[in-house]
């Protein structure tokens, strides 16, 4: 579904991504793990067209998207959920949702339908639909950010560290939501630092370190690989 090949992105002279190649399959949850500064967000931003790559190709559903603008990429069905549960704090919950559907404002009924289905999925958002998004709790804001992305009718969701800065209990809820979305057939590329939680729900895992892919395999294969397991997962068997 998404095929990234030999991707290079740099900030000035510093190469943040060095020849990254990866693939995300349809209906699967692909997870990219890595420490701070590994280039995870850079990778997502490059795929979403927010940063431009120096070299390499990004194919989505067979189409080359590496030269497209973000707005066009969103129309293709590739939607980013940015890090830090970014919502528009002064807009109401409902307005935040509508802003997610900006690429198809002309089809009003369809947008209304989607708002309703999002409300069914996240009843708390319906309760607070007139409230300013800035007054929601952290977990609710993250739900809103995911819900806003769903408003664009994504074929593939790019999720940038959805668990960051949230209380452990809320993190569980968020991962439940991600799991449900994945089970419903929405393809997801998930970038995470919370390796234990992420590998529990992922179908395929890539490890990204200093801009390079250092491992690619299923969660079970990570289990079998002691060095990687210790470096990225910690020793979960002991704890």
């Amino acid at each position: 579904m998404l095929k990234v090949d030999d991707l290079v992105t740099s900030y000035g002279l510093i190469k943040a991504l060095r020849n990254v190649s990866l693939e995300a399959e349809k209906g699967k949850l692909t997870c990219i793990l890595g420490p701070n500064g590994a280039g995870k967000s850079t990778l997502l931003f490059t795929i979403a067209g927010i940063l431009k790559s120096d070299r390499g190709s990004i194919q989505f559903l067979g189409r080359q998207i590496s030269k497209m603008k973000t707005s066009e990429i969103v129309k293709e069905g590739l939607v980013l959920v940015p890090e830090n549960r970014l919502v528009f704090p002064h807009l109401s919950v409902r307005e935040n949702l509508l802003a997610g559907a900006f690429s198809r404002f002309s089809r009003k009924d369809e947008v209304e339908e989607d708002v309703e289905s999002v409300y069914q999925r996240f009843p708390i958002l319906k309760e607070r639909y007139l409230q300013e998004a800035g007054t929601l709790s952290g977990g609710e804001q993250q739900m809103l950010a995911v819900a806003r992305a769903l408003m664009a009718r994504p074929k593939l969701l790019l999720m940038d560290e959805p668990s960051v800065g949230l209380a452990p209990k809320i993190v569980n809820t968020i991962f439940e939501i991600i799991k449900t979305l994945s089970e419903e057939g929405i393809s997801i590329v998930l970038v995470e630092q919370n390796a234990v939680k992420a590998s529990a729900i992922a179908d395929h895992i890539y490890l990204l370190d200093q801009g390079e892919i250092t491992f690619s395999g299923s969660p079970d294969e990570i289990e079998d690989n002691d060095i990687i397991k210790r470096a990225y997962l910690g020793d979960i068997t002991e704890s």
Partner: protein
């Protein structure tokens, strides 16, 4: 009765200030930008419309339409030159300074099109009438009603349309909007064109009540708009309306009781006083408090 009369005059004319202040507030409150070239763009559009009229004799409606169109185009030009390259959190001062340069450019263009320095501007609805001893100019009354109507349109566009929604989104967090794929360039052009059209309607009404246009009109618009916005509260849209009406009231009462030469000095004294007592203007501090509270929650 005399006091009532001056208050009425002040309110009627103050509505024009409100419109100018709203245009500024759209860009300041929503885009966080000060466009110093705004008044000059209105002057240029008026002078250009008169120039077109002198060649094609398009009539008063033609002048009105040419003003709207040219003001929209001039404001998009200003946006592309001064504001779009400096979007982002740190471009506020750079874009303000470059809008100052464009102000000079637009004023020069206007004086090029206005070699006689003054031109008469067509008026309409010239009659006046009295209601129980109160003298009312119909054109000013008309200006007032249009101002009320346009304020409604303004709020409708900003709060009930999709463009308004995206505009508010882009202004609160342009970076996030860009990540979502919102075409912020088009939204920002739309905001400037909108404020241009809005300002041009105000300028047309003001000029036709004054029945002439001079090269100082641009500076006058910028000054009155900014002062009214500061009085009412920087960044607050209701504040812009209140500030405009308040400015009108101050001016007409000062002119009546102290004389026209004291008008500006009293206006600025009152502005200073308000900024000392209520920093941020009449409605401004509430806005600041809300914004701080909201950003702390994130």
């Amino acid at each position: 009765m005399e006091f009532l009369q001056t208050c009425l005059d002040g309110l009627l004319f103050g509505s024009a200030y409100s419109l100018l202040a709203l245009s500024f507030s759209l860009l300041f409150g929503v885009m966080k930008r000060v466009n110093l070239a705004f008044g000059s763009s209105l002057l240029l559009s008026a002078v250009f419309a008169l120039w077109v009229d002198s060649i094609l004799s398009v009539g008063i409606i033609g002048i009105f339409l040419v003003m709207l169109g040219s003001s929209a185009i001039i404001n998009i030009y200003v946006e592309k030159i001064c504001f779009y390259p400096h979007r982002g959190n740190y471009g506020a001062i750079v874009s303000m300074i470059s809008s100052f340069a464009i102000w000079m450019q637009l004023d020069d263009l206007s004086s090029f099109l206005l070699p006689d320095r003054t031109a008469s501007f067509p008026s309409f609805l010239p009659d006046s009438f009295f209601i129980i001893d109160l003298f009312i100019r119909i054109d000013q009354l008309f200006l007032f009603f249009i101002a009320v109507l346009m304020t409604g349109v303004f709020f409708y566009v900003l709060y009930k349309t999709n463009y308004g929604l995206l505009l508010r989104g882009v202004s609160f967090d342009g970076e996030l909007a860009r990540k979502l794929g919102v075409n912020s360039s088009r939204i920002s052009s739309f905001a400037f064109a909108f404020s241009g059209v809005f300002g041009a309607i105000a300028a047309f009404l003001i000029l036709s009540t004054e029945s002439q246009v001079t090269p100082f009109f641009g500076f006058w618009c910028t000054l009155k708009g900014l002062v009214a916005m500061m009085l009412g509260g920087i960044g607050s849209l209701p504040g812009a309306i209140i500030g405009g009406l308040f400015l009108g009231l101050i001016e007409s009462n000062v002119i009546n009781y102290l004389g026209a030469e004291y008008r500006d000095i009293c206006t600025y004294l009152i502005l200073l006083f308000i900024l000392v007592v209520k920093p941020g203007g009449i409605m401004g501090s509430a806005i600041l408090r809300d914004e701080r509270a909201a950003s702390e929650r994130i």
